[in-house]
Symmetry: C2
Subunit: 400 residues, 2 copies
């Protein structure tokens, strides 16, 4: 039979989804599995977006412009303006989710074997997108002891080679919930200008910043016209993960013009999703206030409860809806699997995402897991109890 590609063999599996078969088995045994592993919010999409879909103006389901529906692009210009960012319509290219935005940017910016520096832990699929486009992610390790703040710039400098073409951050961060400060962003600006690099910021969690913190976009920094590339998405902002609508935002005209060739090859982003996303721009402010209040309550409950468990440490996230948590185990991959395969407490267990998949340095984050606080507090409570009991039982199991 014909051989599959080397790229396919080397393509990493999703660390978030790889335990799914064990969860399925647990459910078959009648165990209730509480999902702390996924970033699928249980929040409803804004009614304005759903109404727009239900009131589709026409039966024409034609290709849209390759760069997206013009009126939606204009709407986004206005959205950014309200976020203190002045853009032109041509600076925004609508994509099929943030995922396609990343692949397009990687294709347009990087040659084979080029390197991008990324603070780790990072969103695990960056590895997959890098593998698909023949580039290498070079991790710069952030530490849980430092609450995952930007690693020292000297650590970036040390890793810069002639192959280095970009630095990429996720802000606020999936998986750590860390929110970069203006000072940290200025440091990144300095180093990308010094070495003539692109600065890519995945800002899809922009709306989810807590405790009065304001997110700062790299588009707000002066002097980065040619360097700054923002990856955006409606998936989390409006709880519309399934719409698959994202965007590339850059004032680099040359980049936009080559991106257009990739955009035209795949014809256009999804029409229905764009209808919903454009309408979602009119989501009332109260929607976000409610959603944020809910996430803050969940975060506060979860982080406090986790830190009360012996040997557990969870930094307080300032944004997004994830946290990376240190557990008193040697191998969180094994522990997470054990929770699904061997454990239950009063008919319940908990599923977490081992953090090792969010590091690209081998054997890093082995005692960490990512949790997402996308469950109601009542469910989070049950999940924390199951986790605490699980840790206790696992310790006994290991000492046997």
């Amino acid at each position: 039979m014909p051989k599959i590609s080397q790229k396919a063999i080397e393509m990493p599996s999703s660390p978030i989804r790889k335990l799914v078969p064990y969860a399925t088995e647990a459910k078959k045994r009648g165990v209730h599995v509480l999902h702390l592993n996924i970033g699928q919010p249980d929040i409803k999409a804004p009614q304005v977006a759903i109404d727009a879909i239900k009131n589709l103006p026409t039966n024409d389901v034609a290709y849209t412009n390759s760069e997206g529906v013009s009126s939606y692009q204009s709407g986004l210009v206005n959205y950014y303006k309200n976020n203190n960012i002045n853009l032109n319509v041509k600076d925004i290219m609508i994509t099929t989710g943030g995922s396609e935005a990343l692949v397009m940017v990687f294709n347009a910016c990087f040659n084979d074997d080029d390197e991008i520096l990324v603070p780790e832990p990072f969103y695990a699929n960056y590895n997959g997108f890098a593998r698909q486009t023949n580039i290498n992610v070079v991790p710069i390790t952030a530490s849980i002891e430092n609450d995952f703040a930007l690693p020292p710039i000297a650590d970036f400098e040390k890793k810069i080679t002639p192959k280095t073409k970009a630095i990429m951050i996720c802000n606020p961060s999936n998986p750590t919930g860390y929110l970069y400060s203006l000072k940290e962003l200025e440091q990144l600006k300095e180093i990308v200008l010094k070495h003539d690099l692109f600065l890519i910021a995945d800002e899809v969690y922009r709306e989810f910043c807590y405790d009065g913190h304001t997110p700062i976009s790299i588009l707000e920094l002066d002097g980065l016209k040619e360097n700054a590339i923002v990856i955006d998405s409606v998936s989390k902002r409006y709880s519309m993960c399934g719409a698959r609508i994202g965007a590339i935002v850059t004032r680099n005209n040359e980049l936009i013009s080559v991106l257009m060739k990739f955009a035209q090859a795949r014809l256009c982003p999804p029409y229905f999703g764009q209808v919903a996303a454009e309408a979602a721009l009119n989501t009332p402010k109260e929607y976000f206030e409610e959603v944020k209040a809910e996430y803050v309550a969940r975060r506060n409950y979860l982080v406090e409860a986790l830190n009360k468990i012996e040997g557990v440490y969870c930094p307080m996230p300032k944004g997004a809806f994830y946290a990376v948590v240190k557990l008193p185990v040697e191998n969180a991959d094994e522990f997470a699997k054990w929770l699904l395969e061997e454990f239950e407490y009063k008919g319940t267990t908990v599923m977490v995402a081992p953090a090792s998949g969010f590091y690209s340095t081998p054997n890093h984050g082995m005692n960490e897991v990512r949790v997402a606080y996308v469950l109601k507090i009542s469910e989070l409570k049950r999940a924390v109890i199951a986790l605490e009991e699980g840790l206790r039982a696992y310790k006994e199991y290991k000492n046997k």
Copy 2:
């Protein structure tokens, strides 16, 4: 400023869209442009599909399974069964249009610099997808004199090297409208088995076969379990180009399992589009009968009218809704541009797609254009008149 990639520089522009700026200018001058250049049907999507969107069951716009909504996969198994093809749910992976299906297959099957043999002229974006995934399309030239039938198998044999990994066809063909016979497909089967190659068939125009011809899928051929990969899409079938829903269909289990890694990295195909596509499976038979009758009438009118013009030759397409037409000009690229820039007849001109963009052999198809019969007959009539007058005027212009 940071440099864009070599890949981006080499990425071809869409031959279908590259004349668009000239058309825009013509429209600004008040000239009515009749579009024979695009494959955007003017047919409405089936009402059942639109109704499904308008009656969305929930406000949850969550990620679907990475391989697609299960009930839609099952629905497609049934669709294929009605087309005499027996499949399992796991043989079908839902994608973001046929475009993503092709990129995923190229990534999963081919190493850098691998070669795929493709009869030319072929769908121009194959070149772009190949460039994105670092593979090479090796064209096997079909000729208009032979109505674009499969080139002799000896021509394929001559081009097979250790790098050759697949043969790819589009059946019925965009841009030629050619429908491969069982005999031709059996020849392809023999050669792919002999050389252990994948056989990829883009069958998105399956429903559009005329004059009693029945399309034959490579999935109907015995012995190709590991080799056959079908690219499918709802874009043309239900006139839902904007839904961006396609599929990869293969009985090769290993391939499906590695495709899943690429599918999971990009999370899922669009949810709204899948809702519409699943509902569209219940499109009444009469819809297709009406649509086909309309296309046949358009095709018959257009092909007959074109062949009446002096020096023009248009083979009779058996499927899809395109034809490649030989014109009495030396350089159809120049002529097509001239039609938009310099010409009008009673306030009207016509836009065609130069066929050179559908060949990858340099300087092939220089006197050919692709036309799509996706306009009403009344419009086609005006387009043919404009083309005939254009050819006459262009001849005078060139002889000046």
